[in-house]
Amino acid sequence: MSGRFPRAVDDDLATCHLCGKVAPAARGECPRCGVAIHTRKPRSIERTIALMVAASALYMPAMTLPVMTLRELGDVAPTTIPEGMQAFWKSGDYPIAVVIFTASILIPFLKIASLAWVCAAATGRVDPSPRMLAKVYWITESLGRWSMIDIFVVGILVALVQLGAYMSVTPGPGALAFGSVVILTMFAATSFDPRLLWDRIDPHMNSEPTPQPDARES
């Protein structure tokens, strides 16, 4: 697959995933930092899809099971993530409701959807512009961590609201499901090899030079 632009993979060179050194792929490990090197991450799409399926299976329980339970004077009130967001909206704290909605509901969903789309593009099932795909991939990778907010909020409330019989908060099963969704999607994003997106370009279709993301020589 020799294209119009030189590519490291055509010369059997691999960029280290960790430190970015370019070395012959046949060496098997990076001469600088010692991790295994590959021209493309092995089984990248299979791994990403497996992690993504696990994350999407947990998405529904994460949204419907209570993330925490508030006990107030014998009153037991379990709260789910969407209910927590609604409470902020109703009390007029719109910015916080929007933050919670974005971080806890929208981003995990978008992350699963965009990873599915990016995997479909890398296997040639859909054919969008690679530049746009690279952008989508970058956004999902950088925003995913913010979804942890709700887990931190649960931890903080559980630690603070311990007033004996008057009021207490305990974590619920939804929190574990939600935390797993966030962690699984983070692993899914790192197991995907973005270079696969650029492999789909037919070099002869492009009249403009396309930047080579990994063509750094050491």
């Binding site: 916080i96 709700d150 603070l160």
Partner: protein, 183 residues
């Protein structure tokens, strides 16, 4: 290339590489600051809450503790990893690697330590935790009187100083310098 200078593409002028000034010294200094602030964030409460004649306070480690004690050990461990362990690995790692590199030396095991710095970086969630503190505060404001403690402000400055430590040295530059020092 001079310190603080940058290389630009001859065609479009886009920045290709920037030689960051005093990168190793800055990374070490900001990491040392980070360690001191981490100690402060552990020693002082983040938030104190007064309700029904009782006062409870939140510190960094008791959020993780509370989750472990109250039926969510996995989440408690995750919380400790993201807010305590990962920043600690980052700060100690940068000091251990960048300090000796200032004198042109690679510390024993520096390669492994730098690998760990890179690996734990995505799991370093100081800023996410801070936003979580603010959201919790808004939630509690309606039922109790809540106040920020010194630990909260230490954590805010910690976030800034760790961001500065990471920004003062390029990951690739760190690897390049390590490679040169080992030869």
């Amino acid at each position: 290339m001079p310190e603080g200078g940058s290389a630009r593409c001859v065609c479009c002028g886009a920045k290709l590489y920037r030689n960051r000034p005093a990168s190793l010294a800055r990374a070490t200094a900001f990491s040392l600051t980070g360690l001191v602030l981490m100690a402060m964030a552990h020693a002082f409460p983040f938030i104190t809450m007064d309700a029904a004649g009782m006062r409870t306070s939140l510190s960094l480690s008791n959020a993780a503790h509370a989750l472990i004690d109250r039926g969510s050990p996995l989440l408690g461990i995750a919380l400790a990893l993201f807010t305590i362990i990962a920043p600690l690995v980052m700060a100690c790692g940068l000091i251990y690697v960048c300090g000796p590199l200032m004198f042109g030396r690679a510390a024993p095991g520096a390669t492994a330590v730098t690998r760990w710095i890179s690996r734990t970086q995505p799991w370093n969630m100081i800023e996410v935790f801070l936003l979580g503190v603010l959201v919790s505060l808004m939630k509690l404001n309606r039922v109790a009187e809540v106040n920020f403690g010194p630990g909260f402000w230490a954590f805010v400055v910690l976030m800034i100083s760790m961001a500065a430590a990471v920004a003062s040295i390029d990951r690739k530059e760190l690897w390049d310098r390590l490679e040169v020092a080992r030869q």
